[in-house]
Symmetry: C2
Subunit: 114 residues, 2 copies
């Protein structure tokens, strides 16, 4: 028997908006792949100015997609992937049959036995 935990419905809009921008997605991807990084490191990666990166991080922060930790003069950001939940929920709801069940199972198995 499967217990279903009803989560508080979070507004999905900030997440959708935040990830609509390719630069922001790239920053989030980089943080997901390489883990925690400073603004400086992200700036070298992103190909835009440091203030631009700071503003992108602010948007991601408002969507709870990143958290930050100050350490001396540098700020370390890290991805907060569970903030993707509203988007995942939305997809599971409105895109429930975008792919047949076998495909879904296949993907799951792939993840569970690497």
């Amino acid at each position: 028997m499967v217990m279903v935990l009803r989560m508080r419905r979070v507004n999905a809009n900030p997440v959708f908006r935040a990830l609509a921008d390719p630069t922001r997605r790239a920053i989030f991807e980089e943080l997901s792949r390489r883990g925690e990084q400073t603004v400086h490191a992200l700036t070298r990666y992103a190909g835009v100015s440091q203030p631009a990166v700071s503003k992108h991080l602010t948007v991601l922060k408002r969507a709870k997609l990143v958290r930050h930790r100050r350490e001396g003069r540098e700020t370390h950001y890290r991805a907060q992937p569970d903030a993707l939940a509203p988007m995942v929920d939305w997809l599971e709801h409105y895109g429930a049959f975008w792919r047949d069940r076998f495909d879904r199972l296949e993907a799951l198995l792939e993840r569970m036995e690497p």
Copy 2:
């Protein structure tokens, strides 16, 4: 043994952009729930003018999220949920651990035995 089909990587950007707007998301949701609809019906639903709806539908069309079918003077639109695949792929990639495996399994089971 699980066969893995490598799909052609589709540019996820149009999908992310298209779904960033709440009105567009609402239109897509409505088409997903209630099935094929005319522009007229969608206009009554969306709460914006008919030209606005037409433009939103154009954006969704460019992202392959909807298809249309002309029938006399009316155009019927329907959701094309498999166009969500790039977004799902992205989430599976960068949000792989947004939720623990039990949760994923639970969600899967829910879908498989309704």
